[in-house]
Amino acid sequence: MLAWLAAAAAVALWLLLLAALAVATRNPDVVPVPPTDELAAHSPAIVDLITGHWRLCDEATSATLLDLAARGAVRIEEIGPELSLVRLRRDPGDLKPYERLVYDHVRSLAVDGVVATGALAEGSRNLDRWWKSFRKKVIAEARAQGLSQPRWSRAHAVLLTAAAAIPALAVAVAMTLSDEKHDGGLGAGVVTFGVLVMLMGRLNGERGTRRGAEAAGQWLGVREHLAGTGRFAEQPAASVTIWGRHLAYAAALGLAPRAVTSLPVSVPADDRRAWSDYGGMWHVVNVRYPRRLLWAREPLPMLFYALVAGFFTGFWTWIVLLVLSAVDLWPDALVYPGALALGAAAAGVPLVYAIIDLSGKAGVEGQIVRLRRFQVGKKGDDDPKYAYWCAIDEGRAREVKAYGIGADMWSSLSEGQRVRAHVGRKLGWIDAIEVVGRSRLQGAATYDDTGEQRIDAPENLGEIRIFDTRQE
């Protein structure tokens, strides 16, 4: 018992040390200066980081694109109320790494140097990796400018890790003494050590420096000034032609939601509204995923399901009609015909569809615009089942129905590929598919360059609010 008390005390002391260090390393207070129109030399992405409690938001990518437009690397043109274009203008020369990432994304999507703003969410990149890469590049620059630093310095990390060994040892001893077999101590110690180190890691993140806090205060003054001048909330992205870098900074400071949402650079592509460049020009394709009662089904199993459905419908109808005829609500002579008719009706449509699809497939040629899988059945299932979908833009309609496809075929495809498929037109099942052209989006030089993660910049989980005494 005494050993356990000692172990608990050791853990409590370690937690106290962690809390004390957390308080000591909290973000510095940011004091906004009076409204000012003086723009410092920081980029909008850096501004987004330091004015958002050193936590980068999605807006940073849109703000970066607006900044590129303001500096002439691209042009944003409004073509319709809901349609704007991003046009590549000239080689922008030296760009910061995260600006290059955004620029290359736009360039990889551009057809004849142009991409519709809505299509910025498209592409074959791994969005998570892309965003991590963007974030780390921004943080690297913020650290280089002395505006940001990791919460735990090397000394903090060593101290906390070394100190964690003490409660871990205490737990190990306590467990060894209380365990009759005396063999659980080592495991308990290792687990305790792991949990404490993990807790330390969870509290890590980016924090501001004194210089960063001063810069943030300056930018909050700019925010006040911009909030009172440009009505940026209503400005479209194309108004960057008029407002220049002010719009980019307004976006980074959360003042230009309309411009930001119209530039979905780091937003996942919509399942139901795809942008396709099939035919040489970006256009919207609405994708439907019909209910799978008579769609996205393999014809052969459908034959079987149809017969089973017909049998059970007929059987239960027969039972019901028998009961009804017993109480003189249904003529005896029509019990069998009635059951047969309903059974045939239930089986008829799927049976005919399956036979039609088995007797011949239609050829479909176009570009894959969506590859999705959705779970079918219960959500919490241990062994979840999925329905696999493939939507192909044939360049003929603004709305397409996604086809069902087998898991093996599905996993070998990627969006943007030009394909030729054999499809059952009635049951919407892809029987065979051949790739006739690779995805244009995979061709960009640095498009897949999202793997280099040189700096350690763990996700900032925010301040520990119970220790944060600042006024929001």
Partner: protein
Amino acid sequence: MITLIVAVVAVLLAFAAVSLYNGLVRKRGAVDNAWAQVDVQLKRRHDLIPNLVETVKGYASHERQALEAVVAARSQAVNAQTPRDQAAAENALSGALKSLFALAEAYPDLKASRNFSELQEELSATENRIAYSRQYYNDAVLTYNNAIQTVPANIIAGMTGFAAREYFQAPGEERGPVQVRF
């Protein structure tokens, strides 16, 4: 009681009719708006052409046939009345401009002219914008035309004079993705 039921049904029908009518007005407004966007881009293109012709004249004045073809095509495009005529005239203008740019290849001084290259770039950008605004307009027309032809909106449309709109496409052109190459 019957009177009450009839009154309720009449009120519901009136609400439905107003709602359908308003929906059609919004869709028609979207078509007009989309056409305005097309028109802006077309006017921009038409305004650029005289400058282009003057620039080419300075270096290749004896290429009269090509220059006159561009001027005539522009004149037709400016005077076109309906979207269909406009589309045909714009296609002819694009063809004439392509011929003119092909001719420019034979004149190194013209090609090297900054004014010419800027005009060419601007025309190319305008062409691209026209293609997108045309796609946007045609989508708006498709939505509107579908709306006025489907039951029950077609009844309201017939009673209140909503007429189908023309697509911005020349006779023989198929709807669908537009190839943009200039």
